[in-house]
Symmetry: C2
């Protein structure tokens, strides 16, 4: 079988971590007799500067012809942030209607963390991915009058909450049977109370899953204080954004956290991307940690049914990380991106 | 001089931590020849159940007759949360127009934390306290039709951002000269970009302060990974709520984090309250950590100009915490609330 992969390296360290990941995908698939066919799209800041748009108008259609998308990162200091965010990554997530952003965090043995007792941490954040605080609605009243009023409108619809909830309950059912819903219904009166209500209703279809509802502020503290009390978290777009960066710390930091933007059950390619950004400060130096991107590649293979290839990558990453000589600077080592990439390939071959 | 204190013990562990704090305030003031005059208001869940409202309609006027308010916590399982939150604490913050909620976090020697290397952590979150996501605006469209749409409206006004910004810059100027503004302007297009703009403008009046703007997701990770890179943080109501619970972890948890709701420069009493909630699970057992409430009392004394009395409490708390026998369960010990309260009083006497 052929996996038709769209690759969007993007900006900053995006191209570096993607370049480290693609050979691992090749190798992992080849070992099962499959093949990877890569189409690269040079979308991002450079394209914006040259053509005035980070991606073409028919970008969603172009990637729909592929099985999945591997995405690096966007963001560069000389381009207005919203041109790359709305013009590319949020744009694609919303245009492809990728319902959830799955952000698993797992502590790998051998990787140092700033949090004590992270052994065995293994959780997944199910982040709603298409609306909430990210709809881009609102405006500024009295602009420039000295009385400017910024109005930001968040929209939470039953249909979208329901489909995210079904994903989360199903996932929790396959894992520990425990689901934490994270909202802020004591301070916000409409959107989050609707979340609470709808998720409770969806839960009636999953009697084997225990639903716990936690306020986002309390969850931020609990994430660090008792991460092993967590398994699957379901939350809104904004809270998922915040909590997933925080959860990454449990695994050693942003360089370790993969994600999958997916619309399960539909014939739409998922977008697989490291949670980290373009990190302009270290871009071009070859020192970025490629692990988050490689693990995103493993999620991609899983979703396409190539579970043994996915396991091959994940096991090779885990094996590689046991040895501190293969740690990049973000996790306290001095390995380069290329060192890690070749160590993972080598580990995969010798498995 | 007499300090006319309004005390609102509230629900759950609120009355327990307040009862542990008031004697310390008495003692600290007496040592300077001042006096504490306490009026207690039995507002909260019990009052709601008996009279249908958590506080009377003229609550703001009643507390305005006092110099300051010491507040415990609200929330009990048998009362709808918004009746206590909007009907009391958010209600009072907004009716008194208490511009900022100052949430200092300091790691005390001897207190264990789940985060490594917290020695010397000493930061303050300046949380905007009157609007943003907490205005209560919005609604549910198509309610009950199966197509419910929860709409949540956040409002950020220049005037309110400006006054919070002035507080934060002034504070940063008195401290390290470094201010971090926390927003999320890559995903939200109106409110947070206005924050960025207004705070940058206010900053022109404080050339000695270095302003750094950080995305809230990145800040959540940095708070744990590099807390000593932070000094004063300025942020919105919602982000302040989340980040302050998280920051408390650096000091040992929610039992350690005080706060001050204030409108500097105006003749309005501040509300001083522990960041933790009513903790119904441990209420009535006498095991709650009173430190957050005691440190809130110290902030109260500071703001009323009783700085030596404030220092007396803070030093006594620090001294007490050095000895693990005076640690409550939340920070790994088995002391009771009363143990800590009497140890602090005792330490104060022997200072
Ligand atoms: C780039 C940014 C808009 C994005 C988000 O907030 O979703 C990023 O932080 C993420 O988590 O993928
Ligand atoms: C009780 C709740 C509404 C409150 C808030 O969100 O402000 C609390 O979490 C706090 O931080 O003081």
């Amino acid at each position: 079988k052929v996996v038709r992969l769209a690759v969007i390296p993007g900006d900053g360290i995006g191209p570096e971590v993607v370049a480290a990941t693609v050979p691992a995908l090749h190798a992992a698939l080849e070992a099962d007799g499959h093949r990877l066919d890569v189409t690269q799209f040079d979308w991002g800041g450079e394209r914006f500067l040259q053509q005035g748009a980070a991606m073409p108008a028919d970008a969603a259609d172009l990637v729909k012809k592929r099985d999945a998308v591997l995405f690096g990162a966007v963001g560069r200091p000389d381009v207005p942030e919203h041109e790359l965010v709305w013009g590319l990554i949020i744009g694609l997530r919303q245009q492809l209607d990728l319902a959830v952003n799955l952000r698993p965090v797992r502590a790998f043995p051998g990787v140092p963390t700033k949090v004590r007792d992270t052994d065995g941490v293994d959780l997944v954040i199910v982040r709603e991915n298409t609306e909430g605080e990210y709809v881009g609605a609102g405006g500024v009243a009295h602009a420039g009058s000295g009385h400017d009023l910024g109005i930001e409108v968040a929209v939470h619809s039953r249909r979208v909450i329901e489909r995210a909830a079904h994903q989360a309950f199903a996932l929790a059912g396959r894992r520990s049977g425990h689901l934490c819903l994270v909202t802020k219904s004591n301070a916000m009166r409409y959107g989050y109370p609707l979340w609470d209500r709808v998720v409770r209703e969806v839960g009636e279809h999953y009697p084997a899953v225990r639903l716990e509802t936690v306020l986002v502020d309390a969850m931020a503290a609990r994430m660090i204080q008792a991460p092993r009390s967590l398994d699957v978290l379901l939350t809104s777009n904004l809270f998922g954004d915040i909590l997933s960066d925080l959860a990454a710390v449990l695994a050693g930091g942003m360089g370790m956290a993969p994600s999958a933007n997916v619309l399960p059950g539909a014939d739409v390619p998922g977008i697989y991307e490291p949670v980290h950004g373009s990190a302009p400060d270290i871009a071009g130096k070859g020192v970025a940690n490629p692990v988050a991107c490689m693990l995103s590649g493993a999620l991609l293979l899983d979703d396409l049914g190539h579970t043994s290839a996915a396991r091959r990558i994940r096991d090779a990453v885990a094996g590689t990380l046991r040895d501190a000589r293969h740690h990049t600077a973000d996790i306290g080592g001095n390995a380069t991106t290329a060192d890690v990439a070749s160590a993972v390939l080598h580990t995969m071959e010798s498995q």
